[in-house]
C-alpha cells in the first residue's frame, strides 16, 4: 500500500504530515509505504491514497487515488479517525 502526503511545496509541511501519519499507522499496526511530495508531482503519481488538506484536495480531483482529507496536520486523533474510516 502506497500513501502520499501532499502540501503546496512538498517540503516541510507534507513531511510533518508524513511523520504523523507514520506514527498513527504504527499504532494501528498497518504497514504502508508513506512518502511526501508537492501537489503537482502528486497528480502524476499513482498511490493508493493521498492525504492532504481540504484546499489542495480540490486541485487533486482528477487522481485515481483515494483522497483522505486532514485539516489539522498535528492532530493525531483527527489523522487516526480519517485513516480508520478510509482504510477499512
Amino acid at each position: 500500500m502506497k500513501i502520499l502526503c501532499v502540501c503546496g511545496l512538498g517540503q516541510g509541511t507534507s513531511l510533518i504530515l508524513r511523520m504523523n501519519v507514520e506514527t498513527v499507522l504504527r499504532e494501528l499496526r498497518i504497514s504502508a509505504d508513506v512518502e511526501n511530495t508537492d501537489v503537482s508531482s502528486a497528480s502524476g503519481m499513482s498511490p493508493d491514497y493521498i492525504i492532504t488538506s481540504n484546499e489542495l484536495a480540490q486541485t487533486l480531483a482528477g487522481t485515481s487515488a483515494k483522497v483522505i482529507i486532514v485539516n489539522n496536520y498535528f492532530d493525531l486523533t483527527e489523522i487516526k479517525a480519517a485513516l480508520q474510516s478510509q482504510l477499512n
Binding site: 503546496g8 516541510g12 513531511l15 511523520m19 503537482s40 508531482s41 484546499e55 486541485t59
Partner: protein, 431 residues
C-alpha cells in the same frame, strides 16, 4: 595519516557521501530495516546530486531574464562578474554546509534541553538553504576559510538562530493559532514579526480577512510550481513584448538567441524552464530532507522533554486562508513596484523569488491579519516584497557576489537578508 587523509577527502570532502553517511546514522538510530537503510541512504546521495542539475537549469533561464530586463531599463550590461556558482560552491563547501547543519541542529537540541527555550527547528529544507547562503556570505567576506572554522562558526550561529527565532515569534504565533503547542520555524519569521507589528499600528483588527468571501478560482495559487511559472511568465512576457518593439542593438542580440522561434514564445518557455529548475532542486532537497528530519525529530523528542516543534510556515495557513491570498497579492504587487524602482534607481534587475513571495507573503499576511485584519494582511505582504527586493539587491551585490549570487537570487529570503550583514560582521571579527 594516509588513511585519515583519504577519509577526509573522500568522505568529509564529498558532500553527497557525507550526507549519505549522516542519513545512514540517523536511520540506524531509528532502528530502521535494512531495506529502509539502503533506500534512505541512496536517496540522500542522489538528492544532493540532483540539486546541482536543477541549479544549472535555473541559471540558464536567469541568463535570459537578467539581460532582458537590463535592456528594458536601458541599464549598462554589467554582468554579475566572476563568481563560483552553486555547482562549484557545493563541491568545495557542500560538506562544511552539511556538517554545520547537522551540528547546528544538535546545538539547537542541547539548548532546548538545558534552557527554557524548548523549540526544536524541524523545517529541514530551510535549514539547508540558510546554512548554504550564510556559508556563501562568509567565504565572500573573508576569502577561503578552513573547513573546521567554517563548520564550527556556522554550527553555533545556526544553532542559536534555530532556537531563538521560534521563541521570538511565539507570542504572535499564540495569537494566530490560539494555542502554545506549535511554533513557527521558518525564515519568514522576520516579516511575520514586522507585519504583526505593522498590523497592530496601521491595520484594523475588526475587519478580519476571514469574514470576506474570496473567489474559489484562486485555489491554483496553492501549487508552488504554478505560482513560480505564473509570476516569471508574466515578467518574461512583459519583458519580451517591450524588447520586441524596441529595436535597439542589445534587444536584437537577445532576440537572435531565440533562433527561428518567436521571441515571445521563447521567453515564455524560459519562465517554465525556470519553474522546472526549481522543481528539480526541490526534488533533490526533498530526497534527503525526507530522510534526515524524521531522524532529527527522533533524536530531539527522546532527549528533550516538553519539546515544541518549530515548523514550516504553511502550518499557519489554515488559521486564515483568506489572509494567505491577501498576503501574496500584497507581496506580488509590491514586487512589481520594486522591480521598476530598483531597475531605475540602483540599476539592479530584481528576480522576484516566487516561492518567497507566496510562502513568506502569505505567512506575513496571516500574522498581519491577526493584529490588523485585511489591511494588516495586505501591508504584511507588501513588507515582505520590500525586504525581499532590497535584501536581494544588497546580498547579491555586496554580501555574496563572488560565491553564490546565483543561489541568492532565488533561494535566499527574508531572515537571511536581515541576518546576512550580521554574519558578515561576525565572520570578519572571528576569521
Amino acid at each position: 595519516m594516509d588513511a585519515l587523509k583519504w577519509v577526509a577527502t573522500n568522505v568529509f570532502g564529498t558532500p553527497a557521501i557525507l550526507l549519505g553517511f549522516i542519513v545512514f546514522l540517523g536511520l540506524l538510530l531509528q532502528k530502521k530495516s535494512t531495506s529502509q537503510l539502503i533506500s534512505g541512504t541512496f536517496k540522500a546521495i542522489i538528492g544532493f546530486l540532483i540539486i546541482n542539475a536543477g541549479a544549472g537549469v535555473i541559471v540558464g533561464a536567469l541568463n535570459i531574464f537578467e539581460p532582458m530586463w537590463k535592456e528594458v531599463f536601458n541599464l549598462k550590461a554589467s554582468s554579475l562578474g566572476d563568481f563560483m556558482g552553486q555547482e562549484k560552491f557545493n563541491v568545495k563547501y557542500g560538506s562544511a554546509v552539511t556538517l554545520a547543519m547537522t551540528l547546528g541542529f544538535l546545538i539547537n537540541v542541547l539548548l532546548a534541553r538545558f534552557t527554557k527555550f524548548k523549540y526544536i527547528y524541524l523545517t529541514g529544507h530551510m535549514m539547508f538553504w540558510t546554512t548554504t547562503i550564510f556559508a556563501g556570505v562568509i567565504v565572500h567576506s573573508v576569502g577561503d576559510v578552513s573547513f573546521g572554522k567554517l563548520v564550527i562558526f556556522l554550527a553555533i550561529f545556526m544553532g542559536l538562530y534555530w532556537t531563538f527565532q521560534p521563541a521570538i515569534v511565539q507570542p504572535f504565533m499564540r495569537k494566530v493559532t490560539g494555542n502554545d503547542n506549535i511554533a513557527l520555524g521558518h525564515t519568514s519569521a522576520s516579516v511575520a514579526l514586522l507585519s504583526a507589528l505593522a498590523g497592530k499600528y496601521l491595520g484594523n483588527k475588526n475587519n478580519d480577512s476571514e469574514k470576506i468571501k474570496l473567489p474559489k478560482g484562486l485555489e491554483f495559487l496553492r501549487d508552488s510550481n504554478v505560482i513560480t511559472a505564473l509570476t516569471m511568465g508574466i515578467l518574461f512576457l512583459i519583458g519580451s513584448i517591450i524588447l520586441s518593439t524596441k529595436g535597439t542593438p542589445g534587444a536584437e542580440e537577445l532576440i537572435a538567441k531565440a533562433g527561428d522561434q518567436n521571441f515571445i514564445i521563447y521567453s515564455i518557455i524560459q519562465s517554465f524552464t525556470f519553474a522546472g529548475g526549481i522543481a528539480i532542486v526541490l526534488l533533490g532537497v526533498r530526497m534527503f530532507i525526507g530522510e534526515m528530519v524524521p531522524a532529527f525529530n527522533g533524536i530531539a523528542t527522546r532527549l528533550v522533554p516538553g519539546a515544541r516543534p518549530a515548523l514550516d510556515c504553511p502550518i499557519v495557513f489554515p488559521y486564515a486562508p483568506n489572509a494567505v491570498i491577501l498576503g501574496f497579492l500584497g507581496a506580488f504587487v509590491g514586487a512589481l513596484i520594486w522591480l521598476v524602482i530598483l531597475g531605475n534607481t540602483v540599476s539592479y534587475v530584481f528576480v522576484p523569488t516566487m516561492i518567497v513571495l507566496f510562502f513568506h507573503g502569505a505567512t506575513a499576511g496571516v500574522f498581519g491579519n491577526a493584529t490588523g485584519g485585511v489591511r494588516g494582511a495586505l501591508i504584511g505582504g507588501f513588507i515582505t516584497s520590500t525586504v525581499v527586493a532590497w535584501g536581494q539587491y544588497f546580498m547579491v551585490k555586496m554580501l555574496i557576489s563572488s560565491t553564490i549570487p546565483d543561489t541568492a537570487m532565488w533561494a535566499a529570503d527574508n531572515d537571511m537578508f536581515i541576518l546576512g550583514p550580521i554574519v558578515k560582521f561576525l565572520a570578519q571579527l572571528f576569521f
